[in-house]
C-alpha cells in the first residue's frame, strides 16, 4: 500500500480496500468482516425500522386504537407493520408453504407461480446492478456520475432503435448488437461530461444533471416524432424484433430473462477491470489522489474521460436491459428513477462490485415486494424510496449509526465519502 501515505481524500471503495488488505492487527477474519459490513447492515435495519415507524404513524387503524389507549395503539402498530413487512417479503421471495405445496402437486404452472416472486425480484434487481455499477465506477475514479438516469434513457433509445430497425438478423448477432448499441448510447452521454470535466473543469455533477434533462427532452421528441410507432398516437416506439429480445428462461408468468446473468457477468468484468488491470489501478489512483497520480505520470484527462464513458456505458446497458428484456419498446417514463436509486446503491455497496450486486439484489427485492405490500396493506410503493433515503443517510453519515448503536469508530481515517471539489480541482 505505497499509495496510502498520499491519501488525502478517502473514498468509500478505498476504505473498503484498506480494510480488506489491512495487516491483521490482532483481529480475526470475522471481526474484520464485521467491520466492513456492520455499517451497511445497521443502516438497512435502521432504514426498515424507520419505514415501519412511518407505516405505523400513517395507519388509520393505529390512530383509531390510539383513541382507546396508547397501549392499544402500540399493539395495533406492531400488527400493521408486521402485515406490511410480511407482504413485502412474501411478495418478493415467495411463501415457503406455497412453494412446497406446488412442488408436491407437480403442476408446472403452479410451480412457476410459486417461484415467480423470487425470480421477479432478480429481474427487478438487474437494472439496479448495471446502473449502480456505473455510479460505483465513477466513485472509484473520484467522479460523481449523477447522470445515470439520462444515460439509461439514451442507452434505451439506441438499443431499441437497433432492436426494431434491423431486420433479418439471427438472435445471436442481433442481441449483442442491440446491447452494444445501448452501451454506446450511454457511453456518449457519459463521455460528454467526462470530456468537459477533463478539458474545461466543468463539474460533472452539474453537467450530468443537465445531460439528464437533455436526454429526457430528447426522448420526448423522438417518441413524439421520428421514433414514434407508425400506427399509434401514443408516444411509444415500435416493438423490437423477436430476434433482439433477451430470451426468457421459463414460461409465463415468469418474466425472468438472461439479462440478470449478463449483469452478473458485467459486474465480474468491472471487478476484474478495477482490481486486476493496470488501467483499473490508474483509475483508482486518480480517484483517491489525483495529485499523486499526476506525479506518478498517470493521465488524469484520459482516465477521467475513459471512466465517465465506461460509467455511461454501464448505465446504458441498464436501459438496454429494460427495453430488450422486459418492455420490448420504449415509452416515455420507462425508467422509474433507476439512475437516482443507483447512487444510494453504489454507496450502500461501498462502490465494490460485490457490494453493489448485493445492494441491488436487496433493492430489487424490496421494490418487488412493495408491489404486493401496496395491494395487501394499502401502503403506497413510494415507502421504498423513503426507506432508501433513510438508509442512504446512515451510510453517508456513519457517525449517526455509530452514535445510535455505540460502535467504536473504525481505526484510521473516517469513512466519509468525499469526491473531488465542486470547482473541479
Amino acid at each position: 500500500m505505497s499509495e496510502k501515505e498520499n491519501n488525502e481524500k478517502q473514498d468509500a471503495g478505498k476504505v473498503f480496500l484498506d480494510e480488506l488488505t489491512a495487516e491483521p492487527s490482532g483481529e480475526t477474519f470475522w471481526a474484520r468482516a464485521w467491520h466492513s459490513i456492520s455499517i451497511p447492515l445497521l443502516a438497512i435495519i435502521s432504514g426498515l425500522v424507520l419505514g415501519g415507524f412511518l407505516i405505523a404513524v400513517t395507519s388509520d387503524a393505529v390512530w383509531a386504537a390510539w383513541a382507546q389507549s396508547p397501549w392499544e395503539a402500540v399493539k395495533t402498530a406492531v400488527v400493521e407493520v408486521r402485515i406490511a413487512y410480511t407482504a413485502l417479503f412474501s411478495g418478493s421471495l415467495g411463501s415457503p408453504s406455497a412453494i412446497v405445496s406446488a412442488l408436491r402437486g407437480g403442476d408446472a404452472l403452479e410451480i412457476r407461480r410459486a417461484f415467480n416472486p423470487i425470480l421477479e425480484s432478480l429481474t427487478a434487481s438487474t437494472p439496479f446492478i448495471f446502473a449502480s455499477l456505473a455510479v460505483a465506477l465513477g466513485f472509484r475514479s473520484g467522479l460523481f456520475n449523477i447522470g445515470a438516469e439520462g444515460q439509461i434513457f439514451v442507452g434505451a433509445i439506441f438499443s431499441v432503435f437497433v432492436g426494431y430497425s434491423l431486420t433479418g438478423l439471427p438472435a445471436i448477432i442481433h442481441i449483442p448488437l442491440a446491447l452494444l448499441a445501448g452501451a454506446l448510447g450511454g457511453a456518449i452521454w457519459g463521455f460528454i461530461p467526462g470530456w468537459l470535466k477533463a478539458k474545461t473543469g466543468g463539474h460533472e455533477v452539474i453537467n450530468t444533471i443537465m445531460m439528464n434533462y437533455i436526454a429526457f427532452r430528447l426522448s420526448d421528441w423522438l417518441l413524439n416524432g421520428p421514433m414514434q410507432r407508425p400506427d399509434s398516437f401514443n408516444p411509444v416506439s415500435p416493438t423490437i424484433m423477436d430476434s433482439a429480445k433477451l430470451p426468457k428462461l421459463f414460461g409465463p408468468p415468469i418474466r425472468f430473462h438472461i439479462g440478470f446473468f449478463i449483469a452478473l457477468g458485467v459486474a465480474w468484468l468491472v471487478w476484474w477491470l478495477l482490481f486486476r488491470t493496470r488501467w483499473g489501478f490508474d483509475l483508482r489512483s486518480v480517484g483517491s489522489n489525483p495529485h499523486a497520480a499526476r506525479y506518478a505520470g498517470m493521465s488524469i484527462v484520459g482516465t477521467t474521460v475513459a471512466a465517465m464513458s465506461l460509467s455511461g456505458a454501464l448505465a446504458g446497458l441498464a436501459g438496454a436491459n429494460e427495453v430488450l428484456g422486459l418492455n420490448h419498446f420504449l415509452a416515455m417514463a420507462f425508467s422509474s428513477g433507476y439512475g437516482f436509486d443507483s447512487i444510494a446503491l453504489a454507496l450502500l455497496g461501498k462502490s465494490h462490485p460485490v457490494g453493489v450486486v448485493l445492494a441491488s439484489l436487496l433493492f430489487g427485492t424490496l421494490r418487488t415486494g412493495a408491489l404486493r405490500m401496496q395491494v395487501v396493506a394499502q401502503i403506497p410503493i413510494d415507502i421504498i424510496t423513503v426507506i432508501q433515503a433513510f438508509i442512504l443517510v446512515f451510510i453517508a453519515a456513519p457517525a449517526i449509526i455509530r452514535t445510535i448503536f455505540r460502535i467504536r469508530g473504525a481505526a484510521g481515517p473516517e469513512e466519509a465519502i468525499t469526491i473531488r471539489g465542486w470547482g473541479g480541482g
Binding site: 412511518l54 400513517t58 460523481f144 449523477i146 468537459l196 478539458k199 474545461t200 473543469g201 466543468g202 463539474h203 455533477v205 452539474i206 453537467n207 444533471i209 443537465m210 445531460m211 439528464n212 434533462y213 437533455i214 429526457f216 427532452r217 430528447l218 420526448d220 421528441w221 413524439n224 416524432g225 428513477g337 437516482f340 436509486d341 447512487i343 444510494a344 454507496l347 394499502q378 401502503i379 403506497p380 413510494d382 415507502i383 421504498i384 424510496t385 423513503v386 426507506i387 432508501q388 433515503a389 433513510f390 442512504l392 443517510v393 453517508a396 453519515a397 457517525a399 449517526i400 473516517e414 466519509a416 465519502i417 468525499t418 469526491i419 471539489g421 465542486w422 470547482g423
Partner: protein, 422 residues
C-alpha cells in the same frame, strides 16, 4: 485566494482569444438571423405583436412590423457589432453586447415565428415572468447556501416537499398564509437536515443533497397517494389571487405585465433586492461570503464559520420552501406527484448561469422561463421546430457557460468544501 479570483476575471474578459470567439459568435448569430429566419420570408409579410395580455383591457394598438426588413436590420446590426468586436473589441462591455446580440437573435426568432400571424408578446412576457418565479426563488436559495460554501443540489427536493406540505396545510387550515408558512418551515427543516449532514457530519454535500431529493420524492408521493388522492378535500388549498397595483398597472405595456400578479411575483422582487443588498452591502453579507470564499481566514478574524454556514443553509432552505409554495399555492392550487419536474435543477442551473449573484440568477430565470413559455407557443404558431429543443436550451446553455466558452463563472472558492476547525 480572493485576489487571484479578481485577476482571473480581468484576464478572462479582456483576453484576445475571448475577443475573437465573441466576435465570431456575434457574426454567426447575425448570419443565422439572415439565413434561418430572413430568407424564408417574402417581402411585404408583416408580424403583429399584441402588447396587452389576454383578459386585460387597454386601448393600446397592436405593434405591426414588416418582417423581412426587421430581420435584415437585426442581422446587419448583429454582424456590425461582431465586426467591431473583432477589430476593436468592446473590452469590459463585451458581456453587455453579448446580451444585446442574444436579444436581437431572440427577437428575430419571434418576428420570424409570428410572420404573417399575430402573437401576444405581452402574454408571452407575462408567462415568462411567472415561470421565472420558482426558478429565481430556487436560485436565490442556491445563492444563499453556496455563497457560504455549501453546495445545495437539494433545491428540487426542498421545493417538492414544501409544495406538498403547503397544499396539505393550506387545505386543512383553510388559509393560504398558514399553508405558505408551513411550506417555508418544511424548507427550513430540510435545510437543517442538509446543514447537519454536511456541516456537522461532514457528509459530502452532493450526497447529502441527493438524500434530501430522494427522501422528498418518496415522502411526498407516499403521503399524497395515501391521503391526498383518496381525499381531495386535503388537496384543495386554492391559490393566491393576483393583486392589481393601482396606478403602476396603468403604465402602458409594462404595467399589466409587472403589476398584475400575485404575491409571489412581488415577493420575488423583494427578496431579490433584499438578498442583493444584504450580500453585497452589509456586514452580514460580507461575513457570509467570506465563509464561502476562505473559511480559514474568516475563522481567524473571529467569524464563526459553522454558525454562519448553518444560518445560510437554513435561510436557503426557507427560500426553497417559499419557492415550493409557489407551485401549489401560487400557481396550480393542488399538489401532484413530482410536480416540480426538475425545476429545482433548472434553478440550480440559473444560479450557475447567473454567476452566483441574485440579479444574475433572476436574469437567467427570466431567460429559462422565456424558453419554457415560448416552447408552449410554438405549436400554436405552427412553427416546425420541436418545442423539446427549446426546452433543452437552458441545460445546454448552462453546460456552455460551465465550460467557460463565454467566460467562466466565479463560484465561491470554498464552495462544497466542509470546514474543519484546527
Amino acid at each position: 485566494m480572493a485576489t487571484t479570483i479578481i485577476e482571473r476575471r480581468e484576464v478572462e474578459i479582456k483576453s484576445p482569444t475571448r475577443q475573437r470567439v465573441m466576435g465570431v459568435l456575434f457574426l454567426l448569430l447575425g448570419a443565422s438571423i439572415w439565413l434561418f429566419f430572413g430568407r424564408g420570408i417574402e417581402a411585404g409579410v408583416e408580424t403583429t405583436f399584441k402588447l396587452v395580455p389576454g383578459g386585460f383591457e387597454s386601448s393600446l394598438a397592436d405593434w405591426t412590423l414588416p418582417a423581412l426588413a426587421t430581420l435584415n436590420i437585426l442581422a446587419f446590426a448583429s454582424a456590425f457589432l461582431g465586426g467591431v468586436q473583432l477589430v476593436r473589441g468592446f473590452g469590459k462591455r463585451t458581456n453587455m453586447i453579448l446580451g444585446i446580440v442574444a436579444s436581437f437573435f431572440i427577437f428575430g426568432f419571434l418576428v420570424w415565428a409570428a410572420a404573417g400571424k399575430s402573437m401576444n408578446l405581452a402574454g408571452l412576457l407575462n408567462t415568462t415572468l411567472s415561470k421565472a418565479v420558482p426558478l429565481t426563488l430556487g436560485a436565490l436559495s442556491g445563492v444563499l447556501c453556496e455563497r457560504a460554501g455549501v453546495v445545495n443540489i437539494a433545491i428540487e427536493g426542498m421545493m417538492l416537499a414544501a409544495a406538498m406540505v403547503g397544499a396539505l396545510v393550506g387545505s386543512v387550515s383553510g388559509s393560504l398564509w398558514v399553508g405558505l408558512l408551513a411550506a417555508v418551515l418544511v424548507g427550513t427543516l430540510l435545510g437543517l437536515v442538509h446543514a447537519v449532514l454536511s456541516i456537522k457530519y461532514k457528509t459530502d454535500q452532493i450526497i447529502s443533497g441527493t438524500v434530501i431529493n430522494i427522501f422528498a420524492v418518496g415522502i411526498t408521493s407516499f403521503l399524497s397517494a395515501k391521503f391526498m388522492q383518496p381525499n381531495q378535500a386535503l388537496n384543495d388549498p386554492g391559490v393566491f389571487r393576483p393583486i392589481v397595483i393601482p396606478l403602476l398597472s396603468k403604465i402602458p405595456i409594462l404595467g399589466p405585465i409587472l403589476f398584475n400578479n400575485n404575491m409571489f411575483v412581488y415577493s420575488m422582487f423583494f427578496f431579490l433586492i433584499l438578498i442583493h443588498v444584504g450580500l453585497f452591502y452589509t456586514r452580514w453579507g460580507l461575513r457570509l461570503r467570506s465563509v464561502g470564499e476562505h473559511p480559514k481566514a474568516a475563522d481567524t478574524l473571529g467569524i464563526n464559520v459553522f454558525n454562519t454556514r448553518y444560518m445560510a443553509v437554513l435561510l436557503g432552505g426557507a427560500m426553497a420552501g417559499f419557492a415550493g409554495g409557489y407551485f401549489t399555492l401560487g400557481s396550480v392550487g393542488r399538489f401532484d406527484e413530482i410536480m416540480t419536474a426538475g425545476r429545482g435543477f433548472i434553478a440550480l442551473a440559473a444560479m450557475i448561469f447567473g454567476n452566483w449573484t441574485p440579479f444574475g440568477s433572476f436574469g437567467a430565470g427570466l431567460l429559462f422561463g422565456f424558453a419554457d413559455s415560448l416552447a408552449g407557443k410554438l405549436a400554436i404558431l405552427g412553427v416546425q421546430i420541436p418545442s423539446e429543443f427549446l426546452l433543452m436550451a437552458p441545460y445546454v446553455a448552462t453546460m456552455i457557460v460551465l465550460a467557460g466558452v463565454v467566460g467562466r463563472g466565479q463560484m465561491p472558492a470554498a464552495d462544497g468544501q466542509p470546514y474543519e476547525k484546527e
